[in-house]
């Protein structure tokens, strides 16, 4: 018994030599391979190296053989677009001011918005509401986009992190993540969100488009869509679709950090805080503590009569765009 146990521990000379041989040959082979590699690298000419530009705008030099050609797939830069959409624009805090005294229910904002985001006529990111708060107070038109709250209840309830707030204040929805639970619709006190119950308007035409989280195009059936403050336009320094389409100078859009808002119609720029101060600016339902980024100027001195006829005429404009 004792002999048997001890035997495997002892190494015979033959075994030792065998192992030494294997290790020796291995080392020699490995060494020569490394040497060959170094020599190959030394002899390499510039023609064998190529320069590539990464998505992060970095210029790199790599070996030709190491490069693999990417076959451009229709969803190729999806992650990039989505990442850029999540980060937002650094150093900005976007705000919108809506001057109710100027709104004449032209509905150009709605048409431009629906056109940009491929929405059905009954789907509204931006909706011009008919307001009559009491019988004695005069009625007025109130455009209502998403309020892009600084304390967004919709984002808090999302179970899959599909809807999110960005560093620049914009609240977006990622249709690729959305599971269609509609918790956010229930949570939003401003009814700013819509659900794609049916196949989206331009589903066939948008089929091959790369999904852009800053545009919500292509829209996806069974997911949420909402006002995006035209994040794709804003990235390029352009005013939102609604603001630039308005013929009556209702919309102001700008950066709170710069204390400036630009009128979408006249392109005139004003001091943001002074505009609110001079005109009695307010936010919707401040008591909820949602801290909206959309401000309203009261419908003071409104000269345009409030008529049903305006509505019919506005419907006609929706077909133009």
């Amino acid at each position: 018994m004792i002999e048997k146990e001890e035997q495997p521990k002892k190494k015979s000379r033959r075994e030792f030599l065998q192992q030494l041989g294997i290790v020796g040959v291995g080392t020699a082979l490995g060494g020569s391979a490394i040497l060959a590699g170094i020599n190959y690298d030394k002899n390499k000419t510039d023609a064998q190296r190529i320069r590539v530009l990464t998505a992060e705008n970095e210029l790199l030099e790599i070996e030709k053989g190491d490069a693999t050609k990417i076959i451009p797939s229709k969803h190729g830069n999806l992650t990039y677009l989505q990442q850029q959409g999540r980060d937002g624009i650094a150093g900005k805090r976007f705000v919108m001011v809506i001057d109710l005294s100027k709104c004449q229910n032209a509905r150009k904002c709605m048409a431009a918005c629906q056109h940009a985001h491929d929405l059905r006529p009954e789907q509204h990111h931006m909706n011009v509401l008919k307001m009559e708060e009491t019988e004695t107070t005069p009625p007025f038109y109130m455009p209502k986009p998403c309020q892009h709250c600084d304390n967004p209840p919709c984002v808090a309830v999302c179970p899959v992190d599909a809807t999110f707030k960005r560093a620049d204040g914009i609240v977006l929805i990622d249709n690729e993540r959305c599971i269609g639970c509609r918790f956010c619709i229930a949570a939003c006190p401003y009814s700013a969100r819509i659900f794609n119950w049916a196949e989206p308007l331009n589903a066939q035409g948008d089929k091959d488009k790369v999904y852009n989280v800053e545009l919500n195009v292509p829209q996806k059936k069974g997911t949420i869509s909402k006002c995006l403050f035209s994040a794709d336009q804003v990235r390029e320094g352009k005013l939102p679709y609604c603001a630039s389409a308005c013929p009556n100078g209702v919309y102001y859009f700008g950066d709170e950090n710069e204390d400036a808002v630009t009128n979408g119609t006249t392109k005139e720029t004003f001091r943001f805080k002074k505009l609110l101060e001079d005109n009695g600016g307010y936010t919707l339902m401040p008591e909820l503590g949602t801290k909206p980024r959309v401000y309203y100027l009261p419908p003071k001195g409104k000269t345009v009569p409030f008529q049903d006829k305006d509505r019919e005429e506005a419907a006609e404009h929706l077909h133009h765009t």
């Binding site: 937002g88 900005k92 004449q104 808090a156 560093a167 620049d168 009556n248 700008g254």
Partner: protein, 301 residues
């Protein structure tokens, strides 16, 4: 007789005032003679009309619709005209340019929105709908504006920016007198006008008061744009960066811990409560397993 007299007086007063008000509104549609005869230095051809179309669609189409299509915005009072119509096309280039510059009633001024070149290109697009139109080119040389040199300086004590406008002609430096100068601060979406528009004095100087509370970048820099408009030298813009603004570096809006923020930015109390809850649950499971194990051991004996 006396009564009749009074009533005729009232009636005549009414008629007079009505006439006067009509005259007044008509007067405001008048274009000064020297502006009326102004012509474009840009040739109206397919290329300039095409560039003008892009600008038109962006700035004009929401009210005036597409020229000759008649899809103007009818809900506006007064209704904006279709710009291919005879009423518009019979106006001179100078009149159209003046209207673009000043705006009318509901129509805003495009003077600070579009450059002079761009405004002429919009007119080039409008004229492309008029087959009978023959252009009279202006003999002003647009390259003359390149001779103009703008020098901006600021005085932090009195909050005044001084703009000096001179032209470097071959014959020597010429001071631009009575040239219109507008000073803007560059913002992300547009240009914020500082103070009123000024005219240069005999030394070619214009003074602008700026407010100290204007937010700038992290270092307090702000880009100031001086827009010069001179009869002889045309229009140009000059930009200078000054450290006259309030340094602004506000944290991003997703920095704070909040219930709506991403997991790592969740409130501490939420992370603690949740983790504690999970631990209690796992602990309970462990307790059950250990108990089952002890039963099994007892059973084995």
């Amino acid at each position: 007789m006396f009564r009749i007299n009074i009533s005729t007086k009232i009636v005549s007063l009414f008629i007079f005032s009505a006439l006067f008000s009509i005259n007044l509104s008509a007067a405001s549609w008048d274009v000064p003679a020297d502006k009326k005869s102004k012509n474009s230095f840009i040739k109206f051809n397919d290329a300039s009309a095409k560039e003008g179309e892009v600008l038109y669609n962006k700035n004009c189409a929401s009210c005036h619709g597409n020229p000759s299509k008649g899809n103007v915005l009818k809900s506006l009072k007064p209704t904006p005209p279709d710009l291919a119509s005879d009423g518009t096309q019979k106006l001179t280039d100078g009149e159209l340019f003046y209207i673009l510059n000043t705006g009318r009633g509901l129509m805003p001024s495009f003077k600070n929105v579009l450059s002079e070149n761009e405004r002429w290109k919009v007119i080039a697009y409008m004229r492309s709908f008029n087959k009978k139109y023959v252009q009279v080119l202006s003999n002003t040389d647009p390259s003359k504006s390149e001779l103009v040199k703008v020098n901006m300086q600021y005085d932090a004590k009195s909050n005044i920016v001084t703009v000096k406008v001179v032209a470097k002609e071959k014959t020597g430096t010429v001071v631009l007198k009575d040239a219109e100068v507008i000073l803007f601060a560059k913002r992300y979406f547009g240009k914020l006008q500082l103070d009123k528009s000024m005219r240069t004095n005999n030394e070619g100087l214009a003074y602008f008061q700026y407010s100290k509370d204007l937010p700038g970048d992290k270092a307090g820099n702000v880009e100031l744009i001086a827009k010069i408009n001179d009869e002889a030298y045309g229009e140009l813009e000059s930009t200078t960066k000054f450290k006259i603004a309030v340094p602004t570096d506000k944290p991003s809006l997703t920095e704070k811990r909040a219930i709506w923020n991403v997991l790592v930015k969740a409130p501490i109390w939420l992370i603690i409560t949740y983790s504690f809850g999970v631990l209690v649950f796992l602990g309970f499971l462990l307790y059950l397993v250990l108990n089952l194990l002890s039963f099994w051991k007892i059973g084995k004996i």
